[in-house]
């Protein structure tokens, strides 16, 4: 598509600068896109097994917890779980991957997860809670990786769109406009030459 421009040399120079800038931007963005893709693939490869592990651990925890709950009297279960002794806090900091701010989660856990006595509770509840405690580490790691992957995927999408716009729209348009200005300028020059030749002929004829 031709840009609405004046076919002047000044414009041509500006367009040449723009096309050079766009090409450089395209190259850099392509490199950024490739690097984000690489990082994303790397993270996605880690997420797969991690998610499987977390799902397995959580399933196991739920199964054991369900069994403990089903075999205990409801009042005993309420009493056992009413006042937790485990304190859990998360600290979120941000790191930069290809100028994308990704979260890094650090956890702080204090106290024992088994928050009840042994008289009226099931041993299966201990096993369930300890399995949940073990699953926390993987769960937090998974949350961190999935958030990183999500943010990188959004950035990758944006970058890819920018690269495509530069590659398929901006640069071809400018190049077309440059070509148009070239032809216009060439035509104007030829016009000018033929006018000068005509004037020369007229002068010689007189």
């Amino acid at each position: 598509m031709l840009e609405n421009v004046n076919a002047t040399r000044m414009e041509l120079l500006q367009l040449r600068k723009r096309v050079a800038l766009a090409s450089r931007g395209h190259r850099l963005l392509s490199q950024k896109r490739d690097e984000i893709s690489r990082r994303l693939v790397q993270i996605a490869r880690q997420i797969g097994p991690l998610r499987q592990r977390v799902e397995k651990e959580l399933l196991e925890t739920t199964r054991r917890f369900m069994m403990a709950r089903a075999t205990m009297e409801p009042e005993d279960m309420t009493a056992a779980m009413d006042v937790p002794t485990k304190k859990f806090s998360l600290a979120i900091s941000f790191a930069s991957i290809m100028s994308v701010r990704v979260p890094q989660i650090a956890k702080e856990i204090a106290g024992d997860i088994v928050c009840y006595g042994y008289g009226a509770t099931s041993g299966e509840l201990d096993v369930a809670l300890r399995a949940l405690e073990r699953a926390f580490d993987s769960l937090i790691e998974l949350a961190e990786k999935e958030k990183q992957a999500q943010l990188l995927a959004i950035e990758l999408q944006t970058t890819r769109r920018r690269v495509n716009v530069l590659e398929h729209v901006v640069i071809p348009d400018i190049q077309e406009t440059i070509k148009y200005i070239y032809s216009k300028l060439g035509e104007a020059e030829r016009d000018n030459i033929s006018r000068l030749m005509k004037i020369t002929d007229i002068i010689r004829g007189t």
Partner: protein, 342 residues
């Protein structure tokens, strides 16, 4: 009164003599026992294709109204109603109300444990307590708000003190449970002894032993070597459980060989080491208690069959809940059978 850790029986402790005051009540309980679910029914439920098929198996039984239950919430409501009915029947049938109070004390102590935990952690005391204790659930909030513990029976007054002191010694809510569990164990053995109930004394001492066995194995699995968690008053000396913490799993069966719990330990430990689970241990502990309760069938009349019926019925209700919960959530049949027994 301190009870010596002497085992003068082979498998189950004595159950006491007949009491002819309970002739009618025992006959009534005997007829009710015939309506209890057989192990075969529970196993069939466990092997059923799904939750609905498991419910269908209860159609001809005492739990027929559950057939319309669509959710686990409906099932739970029916089971809670059944449990309340059994407990009320028990209160009606028992002539000796002191024994009723003694069996109700379990709920008082459980309520107390919860209330103290809430009070020391500055949570609202609330009203969600068990209604089967001697102290009405509604009174708990009021008593704790006024801090007027003299309104409790004497044994609960002492339990409050023990629980609160234990908490402030280490500022750990679990200490409340440990202290109240110990106090409750001591109280029930003393009270049963005072009442001269051979059966209850045997039952409570067996329960204490089984709790100690579970505690020992739970501590072993958690790699905790605290020696102060065992309850005194059982047939097996606490020292043996403490020693059990120091030896390997393979030596436990030998350590308890001369006790009636050898089979419980052997089967439970084998499952713990292979599956990292307490399912079989808990099943064996329950089977041991049920086996003891079944010995009351030899009595023609007495409070023993009535107490045994209450405990067996509560166990049955828990088993039904367990099977239906597992079926509803699609748990493996093998796991259900491991917990239920085949």
């Amino acid at each position: 009164m301190e009870h010596a850790a002497v085992i003068d029986f082979y498998r189950y402790p004595p159950i006491g003599e007949e009491d002819w005051q309970y002739a009618f009540q025992t006959a009534k309980v005997r007829s009710l026992e015939t309506t209890m679910l057989s192990r075969g029914t529970l196993v069939d439920m466990a092997n059923a294709e799904d939750f609905t098929a498991a419910l269908d198996l209860l159609g001809g039984e005492d739990y027929a109204e559950m057939q319309t239950a669509a959710t686990l919430g409906d099932v739970e409501n029916v089971l809670l109603a059944k449990r309340a009915a059994v407990r009320n029947l028990f209160v009606d049938l028992m002539i000796d109300k002191d024994l009723v109070e003694l069996l109700r004390a379990r709920h008082d102590f459980a309520n107390m444990r919860l209330a103290i935990r809430r009070v020391v952690t500055d949570r609202p005391v609330g009203l969600d307590y068990s209604d089967f204790g001697s102290v009405p659930a509604a009174q708990f909030e009021e008593i704790f708000k006024q801090e007027n513990y003299s309104l409790f029976p004497y044994y609960l007054q002492e339990a409050v003190e023990e629980g609160v002191l234990a908490y402030y010694a280490e500022k750990d809510v679990r200490q409340i449970d440990y202290a109240i569990d110990k106090y409750y164990a001591k109280y029930k053995v003393e009270k049963a002894s005072e009442k001269g109930s051979v059966f209850l004394l045997s039952l409570f001492r067996t329960q204490i032993d089984l709790t100690n066995i579970r505690t020992m194995l739970r501590l072993k699995m958690a790699d905790r070597l605290d020696k102060d968690f065992f309850l005194a008053g059982g047939y097996v000396d606490c020292e043996r459980f403490v020693h059990g913490l120091d030896v390997g799993y393979e030596a436990l069966a030998t350590l308890f060989y001369a006790t009636p719990y050898h089979d419980v330990i052997e089967g439970g430990v084998a499952y713990i080491t292979s599956e990292q689970s307490f399912l079989r241990l808990e099943r064996l502990c329950e089977e041991h208690v049920m086996g003891f309760l079944r010995t009351t069938r030899s009595l023609a009349a007495g409070p023993q069959p009535i107490i045994a019926y209450l405990i067996m019925k509560e166990h049955e209700i828990r088993s039904v809940r367990m099977v239906l919960t597992c079926k509803k959530n699609g748990l493996d049949t093998r796991l259900i059978l491991d917990r239920l027994g085949e």
